[in-house]
Symmetry: C2
Subunit: 462 residues, 2 copies
């Protein structure tokens, strides 16, 4: 009998599991305590009160940085509230314009390439195991060419990843706990949360809704959503997102030139999040590297998520130019590469095949069509709130609409909209204290849902 056959037989035939050890050893599982509730046939609990009192605890202290984090990460929190709402109103047609999740099918030219790659993995010639941690060469080259053209960004400056959010955390691991950071306020929560996790901050101050030791750069209608750099303190790292999530604003060339100069004067590193750059329809820069000198002070992170509907497929990239140096002259890219090799193993080869297809002429055209669709959605939402007399921001170069409810609490507005219209939005204050009084409405949705949501908004605020 072959080894293979032996394995198959012994493992597949195991009664309780296809995998576990032969049943002669399963008797020991009878010693494993079964929760009382199970035996009694009542609701299934993890621990009974009695067990809870005597529960074994390890002697490992909880990481103090984790304990500093406030509540849950914003979007899971919204998902929980949405779920609770659906329990309360089981028949309601809930529309989600909250988390910013893509809804439109991925163009076939892209999924076909992924399916082809998947099938190829079943052939001797098409099989591939570990890929380069930094991503496949043709994809790195295509990203450099498509998004950075003649900006002097080279193939080896590109690190392919499973998404911008994941790279933000990897960058934080590179920087470590002894750096200081600045964020736009409001901003995408992953910047602040990853900073807290890495121990770069002090405690959360409830009265200010801020973590100590983070420089919050207020962005509001008064300053055109670009921070007043003359009053911004020097930090090591500056997170900057344009087109901005959540405000939908897009920095101009002049503003970004100011930002690069500010970083250069201070010796800071900008982490530039350009995940929505393809939504720009005017002449504003689509990359920080369009600004002369940016390669010496900036990293750029981006993603296929909102371009190709890859939120579930998972593919992004980060540019760390070789010209970017720590104070001792050591290239930042070398440390980022070390983290990518040690803490990551590259993104899925099938997703990478999809990314390459995205950057073919047909793929680009298909992506732009999807983006165009979401931009039409955005216009419908902007027009709706404008017609209702609200001050509305963003929307032009981004799939997010930032609606002002002056003097009101964002969470109250969020709850009111959910309760009255069954539409999930995102409370502005979830992005930082500067977002208080605003609601972010995402334009990711089927057209019918966008139209229906807008109809309900009109009924609520008429």
């Amino acid at each position: 009998m072959s080894l293979t056959h032996q394995l198959s037989t012994s493992m597949i035939s195991s009664s309780s599991s296809a995998f576990l050890a032969p049943s002669s050893f399963n008797s020991r599982t009878q010693n494993v305590s079964v929760p009382t509730s199970k035996r009694m046939g009542t609701c299934k609990c993890v621990v009974t009160p009695q067990e809870q009192m005597t529960a074994y605890k390890t002697k490992v202290s909880r990481n103090a940085n984790m304990a500093k984090l406030q509540a849950g990460y914003l979007f899971p929190e919204i998902a929980r509230r949405r779920a609770a709402h659906m329990l309360k109103y089981p028949d309601a047609q809930v529309i989600s314009l909250g988390i910013g999740d893509t809804t439109e099918p991925i163009p076939q030219v892209i999924t076909s390439a992924m399916a082809k790659r998947a099938h190829a993995l079943s052939t001797i010639e098409g099989y591939s195991g570990y890929g380069a941690e930094q991503g496949e060469k043709p994809l790195r080259a295509a990203i450099a060419k498509t998004f950075y053209g003649d900006l002097g960004i080279e193939e080896d400056d590109i690190f392919v990843s499973d998404g911008a959010k994941c790279d933000i955390s990897r960058l934080q691991v590179v920087f470590g706990s002894n750096v200081t950071m600045a964020v736009q306020d409001p901003s995408y929560p992953a910047y602040v949360d990853s900073s807290v996790i890495m121990g770069q901050t002090e405690h959360f101050q409830k009265e200010f809704e801020k973590y100590q030791n983070i420089e919050y750069m207020r962005c509001n209608p008064e300053n055109g959503f670009f921070p007043d750099l003359s009053t911004t303190g020097r930090t090591d790292i500056i997170f900057f997102c344009s087109p901005n999530n959540p405000t939908g604003s897009c920095a101009t060339r002049e503003q970004l030139t100011q930002l690069v100069q500010f970083a250069k004067n201070n010796g800071s590193i900008i982490v530039y999040d350009s995940a929505y750059a393809m939504y720009i329809s005017d002449d504003n820069p689509r990359s920080i590297f369009e600004i002369p000198g940016a390669k010496e002070v900036a990293i750029e992170t981006s993603s296929f998520s909102k371009y190709a509907g890859f939120t579930g497929v998972r593919l992004g990239w980060t540019v760390v130019p070789k010209q970017l140096l720590f104070s001792n002259g050591f290239p930042v890219a070398k440390d980022f590469n070390r983290i990518v090799c040690t803490c990551f193993n590259g993104s899925s080869n099938i997703a990478q095949a999809g990314g390459l297809a995205c950057l073919s002429p047909e793929g680009l055209e298909a992506m732009l069509e999807v983006i165009g669709f979401y931009k039409e959605n955005t216009k419908i939402i902007v027009d709706t709130f404008t017609s209702l007399g609200f001050n509305v921001y963003g929307g032009k170069n981004a799939p997010y609409v930032w609606v002002h409810f002056p003097g009101q609490s964002s969470w109250d507005v969020f709850s009111q909209i959910l309760e009255k219209t069954h539409v999930v939005t995102t409370p502005g204050s979830g992005f930082g204290p500067g977002g208080e009084g605003f609601i972010r409405v995402s334009a990711f949705g089927h057209r019918d849902n966008i139209l229906e949501a807008c109809k309900r908004f009109k009924q609520l605020y008429k």
Copy 2:
């Protein structure tokens, strides 16, 4: 003209790039300095000596923990040496039994499911965006059932990921910098390196080939590759891998019972790496959770990489039982969940469809066949070195063969084998000082290559 069309036209027609801003703004790129070497047509350098002298440096200090890391991560280092060898011997038929990279095609039942999922993403009904960060419910349930049967591990204890290596780093982020850790010596380098990166260690001590503040648990032929726990100091975290990478040894039920008791006495947390568990063909435990009480002291991380050839597809999982508590009673799983939600966005939905197919009856059978094939390879390698008079370890329950070259330097043996046979192995000392004098031979390879490599070994050592 529709918005979509406008976008497409303006972006696709841009001359230098399909994406960048209109050409009116591209003139500024002429100010970007082009490396002198490019203009002169000589070899391409990053910076010329003159530029190096005047290179701008930021004022951000390099993370001191990153600076503690020694050389490169082991496997990229081996890849570099292999590349150098291929330059030296361009005609040599180099066989890689080094990194442990799978070579056999993925069974069609699995790739078909991935292709199907990819195609479905192009349909309204089949499209899905962000998935649960913890993984899709059916996959979590299938993992719990297949690998943990009646061990009391529930669906919500399972966190699906892009691989065990990635989860090891995420676990280190959960633990933070104030924990102490123990590793088997030798061991898979990601444990030690991620510990150094997180700042858990002091400096590397060249004379001992060890980092200060890590407890190295020596595993060698004398102790049957199981550490002497009576002389092992207490640490917060204990990394333990069985079947072991690199030694190929597999801990017995008695040994694992000892280990769990040791952790319990010390209040430690075991991070149990079971990435090779399906290679076990005798009665040894395939999961740490087969040991009574382990759920209160252990986390288990595993992967589809070496079962289904998913090294490039990227799919793994980590079990964090809800019974595992920090000293203050806070569940470890809650903090791990927070990290998964904040620093990760779930693994690719296409890879998850593949994982689910792996756990169907046909998928399981197909995986076991691939595993059986690699186990036959292993036997060929074991028999070869045994016949040559070497002391050979591992191989029985793992795809790795651990060959003893007493008194010799691992890197010397590695270099000699590469130079004389064009076969890439892995030097044992790359896994820690306890690996000195050993070579790890991986059984991942096409049968022809395994036979050819063994023929060359026989010529070299006859």
